[in-house]
Symmetry: D2
Subunit: 353 residues, 4 copies
């Protein structure tokens, strides 16, 4: 299979670094361009010593981002940039024929008004919203295959959507009263020199933030609404915990069907299991935990896998669904490479196992 | 003020160690006896090098637990033992005239049937349940003053009850549909040599456990029901996060009064603030966070303080209340010493600031 | 005892914060002024939520640093500033009659030339070097008592000097070939928003730095040379390890007296023990570990204690001495308060136990 | 290339787990047997959820260790067992024609007397010592190729030997006075349910242990002596630091050639660089750090790479060499797979990049 040329704009953050890791060893992609204002002129090996043993890392140098140059070097370009900035790069790249996989929030929302409500500035390229595809492979695989602009999902949204979407689509749970409580590792804050993310400020600290209106709510609710066929509003509370990587999300749902005793719970549990197996039984990156196991971020860190488990509580009538993922892999760069594989017709697990 | 003699049964666990720390430097208490089967014969200084500079630590030796001997050495005895075992010590100590502050779950529940439901064995001393006082000073201060047997609350329950009780009592929130999502440091699992709590198994790991029916639900629901004047069933999900100490609890509540816009939210917020100030404005160990601050375990670790903040979410109509405490101090040993102070007529903050 | 008024210049870093903690609860000192360019106008409670329960914390506000104003508010002023900057504040404060306890490196060296060699700029106040006292209480207690300018030792130097000085003074070890290998928690880097000290960059990372000529060598060698009566040059390698606080130092020494077997080692060990007991047997903040115990930072964090243990190795003929301290307490702010106590005639442990 | 069948005895510890990880995805090996007394009967997927997405993990079950059965299932058998126990398995496996790669200390030493001195029991199979090959590929590659019994090196020894051996062989440094100071992650202690390795006991703790005679000294000194052509005795101090994985070793050496100024240091530095480049310039798993970079465990964790950097100190006349490796990969299981590759004629990096 001929290798496809890929580039990364903004390759020095945590998502960018992970894209570098995945693409350097990808069997069907060749990393031909990496940009970084801060590190322009340095080789990959200099900026990321951990990749220095890869032969390519000693020769590939970071360059200043330039869409015209990039378009000649790479057929597919990943954007690992802050929201707002990403759109500005996407426009010229698309015009020059590149396919773009954007890891920012810029093209995830269908509505420019919702974007403005949550991101507090006008959308920089509203015309593109209609053509972008939400890059959640387990849901939009066929659209991704034909996309030119893929909006790779956020880390928190992935951890909420994959567990909830099948249940909503199957009508197994109510679309109202949903609560998602998430715990994220510190890499989720990005590689930013801010006091709040110093080691001493995060170690031995557990804290909520962004309560009650975190930006990721916008894309979570958009996708839940599509699945439910009705507008969905949820509660979402992120917390920062002292791990490098990983998101653990606990979701509180109400089954459509009331269950009043152990027998009814067992029957409902079978329906939920069947629903999940139908949705994910053949998915290479979704691990349904049966038996007594519960998700643990340490079982997924460094992989593109999301773990999902659930429990029915006869005392409260609720369904509790829990997921664990690596926020930088399945929650960001791994998922983006999964989309690349679909887009280019590679095996979907190429470079990801 | 004459010093009171105190003893600790089971002084080698994390709660026991913290009791030692607090009582060694307590201005009005003298630690006269510490028991430990494992360390009998060794001095405090040998078992806990960190206390070795205290003169008492070089002479006070751990002894095998013996109620008759203890009763002669200590007027007040703290029990830092597993549930089930604690009750067996409480009985003879009480018979011999000691006052007992029990840190286990044995005397927290009023109903032996509920105890059996949650702890899976018959209650070892059901007759004592009627006389024991739930040792939450901010709620039961006057009863603690006259108690002979104090059941010091669990770590999770403290983090849920202090934020929720005033709201329920004031009728500001519904007693139904309450969800509490808690994150605990690893010391909460106790000093037990089990694989699950090894450094490598906990570091870089975030995981839920005990879903959906954790034992602490029993005392949480008992106390919420008393405050609400009606039986309360809640959802509670504990998670293990890699810090030594600290519990962060996020609680989802529904206000009785619907709020549909910013003005109504602001008005309701004033009522909540007034409710909390009435309940805790003069409490030395409850810190109400106003302004933008949210609870962070690093601000309370090592102290007997619980931080409480709250947010109204006009999008969902919910009230989110968050608390942070040190699970070993306000969640265990510090709170028990607070009860000692009340019981003995000492200033309530003695030895705790 | 009448309280003495104290101020802190640069109170928002980690050393400054710890000074605040210690001085807010000091029985004989009253914190009357705290300065911070960044936080001027805010109360202690706003900047450090963890101190918010102290009544003083809600009223005392950070102010812009101004020596003339400070001199009226505080009899003793602590400087928790970067080197170079500290000297500029010390001069006017001393001129206006304050006593100054400087936590920077500015007044630790007797030689302005050595200062320039290690700190790469001219000394800002060379005239003061002759009058400043090196604030290591276990060594310079009587000089501290009469000082007007105390240069509180660095964190690494404290961890090296206290273990080595008595051995050198007693002629038990050679003054040549000394190696000190230190591991420091991340708070040692200060509260600076730099990428290198982000949580993700430090967690799961162990790394040396400043090899081979760390600035602290200058004061270590100055004090070792005084004790040895001859110029001493040592090897010193600091490492960064992922803990908030604590320094563990392992020092390799060669005994003057050769020991060739277990008996000779035992005899030499007795002399070393006697030497340490003579030096530190009555010191409240030095803990000599006998028996099998080795130093562990977790036993000293949060305290002003340094732990010291040693082993003779008959295989190599070396003496290995190990120490553990809290870099922010005994290595900085606690030691500075210990000097305050000596300076003012308070009990030396006041506010430190 | 036909796949070779491999088995792992003792596959449930940390080294065993890492062998499973590496061998499940190895392009030329097929994992046909895993043993564990504790987990016999369970699948790999059940014991190690993180591997559950590998198809093999759902079918391969742990079995009780049985050499006769193993010898039929696997051509090459890895022993990830405690010392003493490993030898008992090696004997029958070798007799039945297997090739054995032992990760324990049982076959690393050439002298049964030294083994007894350091391991405190008679060697269980002294006859095999003459035939075993010390599995350090960068040194014994050709012997490994023809071995039947490979003794894979210890984690600490690898971190000391690779940096020091070339210098000793080239006569660039003295064979006397060597000091190695190592910092290890907690996985080095193994998956053992002991209080000392609980999260709470290791987190926020830094401590030396095994001072002054750690068992790994025996193999370090054996190999240094071979390289030096004369008996070498060194000082070695291990420390435990709170990371899951990684060893950082700092080694103090004395160059044979004195250097008195910057020019002489630069000339000597060139010789050292040339020596290292000759030894490791083509090694895929040794990364020589030139320029300003120093080793950092976070750059090697999860890889089979060892980073090496060095500094000459004109003040002391010493050479300081620093290395970083993953104690479980290059220090254990990765290195063992590297030996497998050599033994079987696979590309040496197969399954390791």
């Amino acid at each position: 299979m001929k290798k496809i040329s890929v580039g990364i704009v903004g390759a020095s953050g945590y998502s960018g670094e992970e894209l570098v890791r995945l693409l350097l060893t990808h069997p069907h992609a060749e990393l031909t361009a990496v940009t970084s204002r801060q590190y322009a002129g340095q080789t990959l090996a200099q900026v990321f010593p951990k990749f220095a043993n890869h032969p390519h890392a000693k020769t590939l140098r970071f360059v200043e981002p330039n869409a015209a140059v990039l378009a000649k070097q790479a057929q597919v370009v990943f954007l690992a940039l802050p929201h707002g900035v990403a759109a500005e790069f996407a426009i010229p790249l698309l015009q020059q024929g590149c396919q773009v996989i954007d890891l920012s929030a810029d093209f995830r929302l269908k509505s420019a008004a919702v974007y403005k409500d949550f991101y507090a500035h006008d959308h920089p390229a509203p015309d593109l919203l209609a053509t972008s595809v939400y890059g959640l492979p387990e849901v939009y695989r066929s659209a991704i295959k034909n996309a030119t602009l893929i909006a790779s999902p956020g880390c928190y949204p992935t951890s909420v959507l994959l567990p909830v979407l099948p249940l909503l689509r199957a009508g197994l749970v109510k679309s109202t009263g949903i609560i998602a409580d998430s715990l994220s590792g510190v890499s989720g804050a990005g590689r930013k020199a801010e006091l709040d993310y110093l080691f001493v400020e995060c170690n031995e600290s557990v804290r909520p933030y962004g309560v009650p209106k975190h930006r990721h709510l916008s894309e979570i609710e958009q996708e839940l609404s599509i699945a439910a066929g009705t507008p969905v509003i949820i509660q979402f509370t992120p917390h920062l915990v002292p791990v490098n990587r990983g998101i653990l999300t606990t979701i509180y749902l109400t089954p459509e069907k009331h269950f009043a005793n152990a027998d009814e719970a067992a029957a409902l549990n079978q329906r939920i299991l069947a629903c999940y197996q139908a949705a994910y039984g053949n998915e290479p990156f979704v691990r349904l935990l049966e038996g007594k196991a519960l998700p643990d971020t340490k079982n997924v860190v460094g992989t593109n896998v999301i773990e999902i488990a659930w429990r029915l509580d006869p005392r409260t009538g609720r369904l509790i669904v829990m997921s664990a993922e690596d926020n930088i892999v399945k929650g960001a760069s791994g998922q983006a490479v999964q989309s690349l594989n679909i887009l280019c017709g590679f095996p979907e697990t190429a470079g990801l196992i």
